[in-house]
């Protein structure tokens, strides 16, 4: 049973804000997965982590990947990042293979634990991507490491070591690190999952702002219904065992969202629908 491909749409309010050139570029998918399957062979049995996963994300859009634990959300993200090869199917990132996108430094990845290098200060962690993989300098016009730390609200913390920062601040540094060099696609694997609710709310708002400022395509993995709804233009609901696309739900909330929106009837209705979909998984 193949899941029907549903193209991601740019929300009307969003499209209206874009100039025609950007809107046209946005029409080309940044990521396209066609019938992707991933199977792991273990000593006892073969596990199908993902099966028949097909979807597209338009350039510059924000897609939340929502699903229960063990539904293969993180695996799907790693397939797009060229960290795990798909067993079947095809993945296209920015018109080429996932590997080409990775080699072009077009991908930014944010991990669940910030994965900062403890021997480097905040700013040295942000500049790490410029020191490896055959990339030496920032592309012209790209924001500097200091500007990126300011973007994530960490001005003045440039020379702090990770152990001197709180969990939320560490995750901000790792977001700045993922943004250096202006990646076209930002892949985020439950980045706020280990944070307390207050910090998480705050970072959710900031991530919306960063996305609107940088216009990076974002693929955001979460198991929080509220987070998925608040952040995404679209929510892709994954079902577990095996991981497959349950439904692709467009989120028709206004582009300028504040956390208050979570109390509106419209938001609550969308969240309730997502909850029902997860319940049927």
């Amino acid at each position: 049973m193949a899941t029907q491909v549903a193209a991601t749409q740019v929300a009307p309010t969003q499209a209206a804000r874009l100039d025609p050139a950007v809107a046209e570029a946005a029409a080309a998918p940044a990521i396209r997965c066609e019938d992707v399957a991933v199977r792991f062979i273990t000593e006892r049995r073969t596990v199908t982590a993902l099966e028949n996963v097909s979807f597209e994300i338009a350039e510059g859009s924000f897609l939340s990947l929502l699903g229960p634990s063990g539904c293969g959300k993180s695996t799907l993200l790693r397939v797009v990042a060229d960290l795990i090869p798909p067993t079947e199917g095809r993945v296209t990132v920015l018109g080429g293979s996932a590997e080409a996108a990775r080699r072009d430094h077009a991908l930014g990845f944010v991990f669940q634990d910030a994965a900062l290098l403890p021997w480097r200060t905040a700013i040295q962690n942000v500049t790490l991507p410029l020191e490896v993989g055959g990339r030496s300098a920032l592309p012209p016009g790209a924001p500097t490491p200091t500007e990126l730390l300011a973007l994530v609200g960490l001005s003045g913390w440039e020379n702090a070591y990770p152990h001197e920062l709180s969990g939320g601040m560490r995750q901000r540094v790792s977001i700045a690190r993922a943004l250096i060099g202006g990646p076209k696609v930002l892949l985020m694997d439950e980045p706020f999952g280990a944070l307390d609710e207050i910090t998480r709310d705050h970072l959710n708002e900031e991530l919306r702002r960063i996305w609107q400022e940088t216009r990076t395509t974002i693929l955001f993995v979460t198991h929080s219904i509220y987070e998925a709804t608040f952040l995404g233009q679209t929510v892709l609901v994954l079902a577990a065992n095996p991981g497959r696309v349950r439904e692709i739900v467009p989120i028709d909330l206004p582009a300028d969202r504040t956390l208050d929106i979570r109390e509106t009837d419209h938001f609550v209705r969308i969240a309730a629908r997502l909850r029902r979909l997860l319940g049927e998984c």
Binding site: L107, F109, F111, L128, G133
Partner: protein, 277 residues
Amino acid sequence: MADVAILQGGQGIDAAEAEYRAVQRRRRMRRRIMPAAGVLSLLVLWGLLVYVLDVPPFVAPSPVAVAQTLVENAGMLLANLWPTALEAILGFLLGNIAAIAIATVFVHKKSAEEAFFPVVVLINTIPVVAKAPILVLLLGNGIEPKIAIAALICFFPTLVNMVRGLESVNPQAMELMRVLSASPREVFFKLRVPTALPYLFSALKIAASTAVIGAIVGEWIGSTVGIGALIIQATYNFDSALLYATVIVGSTFSVLFFLAITGLERLVVRWQAPVVA
């Protein structure tokens, strides 16, 4: 260790802070004085025991006699420390550099680790006192077998720790390096080596004292100079004061070597959160 004082009612904040600092100062002072007092009381106890039990000087000397020997024979003791220190330091360098190099090979070539790690374990099970004569036969009576024994004794802990350190990389940091298309060389120098440094230093601190032991044991077999040779001579001559003085010189060097490595660690490994003792 309570470093927090509760502000008492009816007390000015300035006065309370001054008092808090005074208490902290006294506490720091005490931390320095107490160990010295401990050592001193042991010396007194030792002196008393020797005096009260009337221990003959060829069995055990009094602390006063040892101190006298240390002062009177300072030149001779230092002249014998020099070769031992040289052997220990050279052996330390040789053994650890070899261990780091082989750990690097093991981490990059799993088959090499599978083939040679059991060999290394086997060699390590041979006691130093048994290895020493073998190496003396192989390398002669000069400084070489002593360096080799000191190197061998350092080698194993460093190899084991270094392999573990190089492999204990955060898996997400490893994925990050892959997303960044880092080369194996970049992964090694930017990720594996810094990760391994704290492991390496805990091995180096062990090696600093064992290298000295290795050099001394090496000198027990057919050597005429060095702390080890002096220990043997003093024992055969029933010169217990000289024996004790020699042991003190040897362990003082060990402690200084250890402290030097600890100081180096503080300079190099700066990123770890302060450990609450």
